[in-house]
């Protein structure tokens, strides 16, 4: 009798653990990257080189990863929300486009083209230059880690 109770209790505890895990998975939201660890730290120029050398291998290395990268701000697109920051090199036709997390607060007046930024974002993919607009490496949920005037 005592053994049966122990087995029953063991099964019940397991059901609760599995149930809690399933509930946690179902209700999991995309967290702000301010509290999520970085998978990779790499310079913007290195990412641009990697994608221009071999898009497939670069995609395997970077897509779905939380990447921290440093580069020069080329453009700020903030006429719509969320804003997008374009990082890159004036000599390259490949840019890094960081769509900011809509909950990320920052002072837009302090951002100027030419500022060196450290950005953190989820790499979602690469848009090759199919339409003659230049290629882009795309990031979502992005935040600004650091900024220095160049």
């Amino acid at each position: 009798m005592k053994t049966k109770l122990i087995v029953l209790l063991f099964i019940l505890i397991n059901i609760i653990i599995v149930g809690l895990y399933v509930y946690k998975q179902i209700t999991k939201t995309n967290e702000s990257l301010t509290s999520v660890a970085t998978d990779l730290s790499v310079s913007a120029n290195k990412m641009i080189d990697d994608f221009s050398t071999d898009e497939k291998i670069a995609s395997l290395n970077y897509v779905n990863k939380i990447v921290e990268t440093e580069g020069v701000l080329k453009n700020i697109e903030n006429d719509r929300s969320p804003a997008t920051l374009v990082i890159g090199d004036s000599s390259s036709t490949i840019n890094l486009r960081f769509t900011l997390d809509s909950s990320f607060q920052f002072d837009r007046t302090t951002l100027q083209v030419g500022t060196r930024l450290t950005m953190k974002g989820m790499c979602t993919g690469y848009n090759a230059d199919d339409l003659g607009l230049g290629a882009d490496i795309l990031f979502n949920r992005s935040i600004i880690i650091n900024q220095n005037k160049n």
Partner: protein, 185 residues
């Protein structure tokens, strides 16, 4: 004098042709697959859609990296990419089409124009002809392109698991909202 006139005409021609193409790389597209039986909203948004419009010909193209769609639920986003659109195999969705009543749009004058767009939508390795109405709004040198239409998942070989068949819409609503600027050469 003739040379001066010729130069003015050439400069004028170049400035007109430079404004023929409009584009954005931060177009907003929302997809909604919610049904009345869905326990929560099945909605995702991308703010990275590319759109290019040739105002002279009416040619319009969209391109979206599917992993750029964000869902509120991380699990839903995972299922969308891994099980539904298989974005590792088919990373992009594209539309190449034509505004069939392009001549009715006066791109030089601020205003809102109802348009019909026909073209080929490519998703999950399948390309199908689609047609939809939309609105082109010319405003202060920019063009706003908006449209809402539906795409049937099964047309693109996207299977809805039987377990959630009544909770995920068979016809997904696609809402386009793009603000285009002149493409400077």
């Amino acid at each position: 004098m003739r040379l001066f006139i010729l130069q003015v005409v050439m400069i004028f021609s170049v400035s007109i042709s430079a404004q023929e193409r409009y584009f954005t790389k931060s177009g907003k597209i929302r997809i909604d697959a919610t049904t009345s039986k869905s326990p929560e909203k099945i909605v995702a948004v991308t703010n990275s859609a590319i759109c290019v419009l040739d105002t002279k010909t009416g040619n319009i193209q969209f391109s979206v990296v599917l992993k750029s769609y964000e869902f509120a639920s991380a699990l839903m986003q995972e299922h969308f990419n891994e099980n539904y659109v298989e974005s590792n195999v088919y990373p992009k969705s594209e539309f190449k089409g034509l505004i069939s009543n392009n001549s009715a749009v006066n791109y030089a004058k601020d205003g809102t124009y109802t348009v019909t767009v026909k073209g080929a939508l490519s998703l999950h390795g399948v390309t199908k002809e689609v047609e939809s109405t939309g609105k082109i709004t010319v405003q202060n040198g920019k063009i706003l392109a908006a449209s809402t239409f539906s795409a049937k998942l099964s047309d693109y070989k996207i299977k809805i698991p039987g377990l959630v068949a009544d909770k995920v819409a068979e016809n997904v609503k696609i809402i386009i909202d793009c603000s285009l600027e002149p493409l400077k050469k």
